[in-house]
């Protein structure tokens, strides 16, 4: 098991190299001169050139990348062009916000989606099933940022119950997490339902019922556990989508996380900060995929046996 985890974490290294190289290369074509941005409009040509030399901007792109990697390996991801603070400091101060948003959003999504999908699957073609499936189809078709806008419109502007921005109290968190969980919730509910439909008619379910096991136990222990694999796959994908979605949601609710940091740093061509945010995202995605794979093993002993090889 540990060997499997270690192998997967090692596989992250070439991906990180590739991702940073790719972004580095694309952004090297970005218009504008970082040195000019830092010094402002009044700087002389000489000052700019001096700073460019100092920052190594006059070197070949690949030389710059190599320097970035050498420093990066020792934990130094450079300094932001705009704030002149180390990228690591910027990210460390912002990451907890994104983490909170995504974790709470995911918990809400799973708590609502699982029962919804299970009940809809067990009671196929009932009113509950149809209603929840129409709603979840609408849910996966909604653009996240529109949901956010409508939430603000309803709960902040019209009803005045909740703030539309800020990050101090628990109240500030309600709308962003609600928004970010909605689309994922719908996707997870749909998958849970369809995988429940596949197992609920299996022979072993009939056998379990025949033995006189209660409905609840049949559904949870016998059906759900076997239906969990596709649900887990989709849940993993949805968390990744959520993290990517933070670029939109954090902007709508002025939430000071990595997503918003990434958008502003792309807009300001703050290349070290862009790279830093992308690295964090990539690491997050890898960890999520790894956790999903480990959970496969927890749910299904057959998969666990494969990991041991």
């Amino acid at each position: 098991m540990w060997k499997f985890v270690l192998k997967r974490l090692l596989a992250l290294i070439p991906v990180l190299f590739g991702v940073t190289l790719l972004v580095f290369l694309i952004l090297s074509f970005a218009p504008g001169d970082p040195a000019r941005t830092i010094l402002g409009a009044e700087a002389t040509e000489e000052q700019i050139n001096h700073l460019r030399e100092e920052m190594g901007l006059n070197d070949n792109v690949f030389v710059q990348y190599a320097r970035y990697i050498i420093k990066g390996v020792s934990g130094d991801l450079g300094t932001s062009y705009k704030t002149r603070l180390p990228v690591v400091t910027e990210i460390v101060s912002r990451f907890p916000y994104t983490l909170r948003l995504v974790v709470v959003g995911m918990i809400i999504a799973i708590i609502i989606a699982l029962p919804l999908g299970v009940i809809a699957g067990v009671k196929q073609n009932s009113l509950f099933d149809r209603l929840s499936m129409v709603l979840s189809l609408l849910g996966i078709s909604l653009p996240t940022f529109w949901v956010g806008l409508l939430c603000i419109l309803l709960f902040s502007v019209t009803l005045g119950w909740l703030p539309s921005g800020g990050n101090d109290s628990l109240k500030d968190m309600i709308l962003p997490t609600l928004t970010i969980s909605l689309c994922s919730l719908a996707g997870i509910a749909r998958t849970t339902r369809s995988s429940m439909l596949e197992v609920i008619r299996a022979d072993y379910i009939r056998t379990a019922r025949g033995k006189g096991i209660s409905q609840a136990k049949v559904v949870i222990r016998h059906a759900l556990q076997n239906a969990m694999i596709p649900t887990l796959t989709v849940a993993g994908l949805q968390i990744c989508n959520m993290i990517a979605g933070t670029v939109l949601v954090e902007n709508i609710f002025s939430w000071p996380g990595i997503g918003r940091l990434l958008v502003t740093s792309i807009q300001e061509r703050d290349i070290p900060l862009v790279l830093g945010c992308i690295i964090v995202f990539t690491i997050c995605f890898t960890i999520i995929n790894l956790v999903v794979d480990i959970l496969y093993g927890v749910i299904d002993p057959r998969i666990k046996a494969q990991y041991k090889k």
């Binding site: 991906v15 590739g18 972004v23 189809l137 940022f145 806008l149 409508l150 061509r269 995202f281």
Partner: protein, 289 residues
């Protein structure tokens, strides 16, 4: 049983269409998307672009929906209905353009990787992994930051960002088809590799690629509006659903209709594509039903 008899011996496309036609929600998706395409094509007939969709009229700014302006007017007095109608051109245009790039690029790369296997496959898949590690919308943001925010560059960036997904789908499909006996027989009669790929393998990978096309188009259209919402996509005065929603933020108090209709347009488009995609998936793989 009877159904089976009716399409036995027909082509794969006919079989998919036969099953698709009997799926009500899939047909609904097809009807909606066809209507949207018609609206996009005839947008100029419905509302003049220069005369209505981008024409500012301060006298009529921020009017609530009425008979003259069924969806109201925006902060520059432009008719929102006309802008929503013209916005369909941008969204569907970029959607089709982007997905065409992704389908073309991804299919070729995936087919080559799947067909030749070995080192070629390994290299392609590692590069794909790297691209897949960056979410579509972020990839597009980075490319747009460098290449600019015209509709064409956005279509190209989102298309490039979606290539890896198609590469994977095409590769997976090719890997299963490759082992079929008819490929072996094609090879036995001396067909060239390029002929085998284009004539025998790709047509049989048609179904999964078609499903992915509708789903990716939904993702691309969502990304276009998302980018524009963030101010990194299509810029005003060009009517685009995402940037219209972005503009509505300042007027939520009192002029909420501005935030409703462009969002409904996005939702309807995505819903139709999802229905279409689900329907195609069920129709191409009857075992799933």
């Amino acid at each position: 049983m009877q159904n089976k008899k009716r399409y036995r011996g027909q082509s794969q496309v006919y079989q998919i269409w036969y099953r698709f036609r009997h799926n009500k929600s899939a047909m609904l998706g097809l009807v909606i998307i066809s209507l949207l395409i018609l609206i996009a094509v005839f947008a100029d007939v419905l509302f003049s672009y220069d005369g209505i969709a981008i024409k500012q009229n301060i006298m009529e700014r921020l009017q609530a929906p009425s008979a003259a302006h069924p969806m109201g007017t925006d902060d520059y007095g432009r008719d929102i209905l006309a802008r929503v109608v013209h916005g369909s051109r941008i969204s569907l245009g970029i959607g089709f353009g982007g997905v065409a790039i992704a389908l073309f690029g991804g299919t070729i790369i995936g087919a080559i990787a799947g067909f030749y296997g070995g080192k070629v496959d390994m290299v392609v898949m590692r590069v794909t992994d790297i691209f897949m590690a960056i979410p579509n919308i972020l990839m597009a943001m980075i490319i747009v930051a460098v290449a600019g925010t015209s509709a064409v560059t956005i279509a190209i960036s989102l298309g490039i960002a979606a290539i890896p997904t198609f590469t994977r789908v095409a590769r997976g499909a090719v890997l299963t088809v490759r082992e079929m006996e008819y490929i072996e027989s094609a090879r036995a009669i001396g067909a060239k590799n390029s002929t085998i790929i284009s004539k025998h393998i790709l047509p049989n990978c048609f179904a999964p690629l078609l499903v992915q096309t509708t789903l990716s188009m939904a993702i691309i259209i969502l990304s276009v509006s998302g980018l524009s919402y963030l101010g990194m996509g299509i810029k005003a005065p060009i009517p685009e659903w995402g940037s219209m929603l972005s503009a509505s933020r300042a007027y939520l108090q009192g002029n909420s209709y501005m935030a409703i209709f462009p969002g409904l347009a996005i939702m309807l488009t995505i819903l139709a594509l999802n229905l279409l995609g689900d329907g195609l998936r069920d129709a191409s793989d009857p075992k799933l039903k």
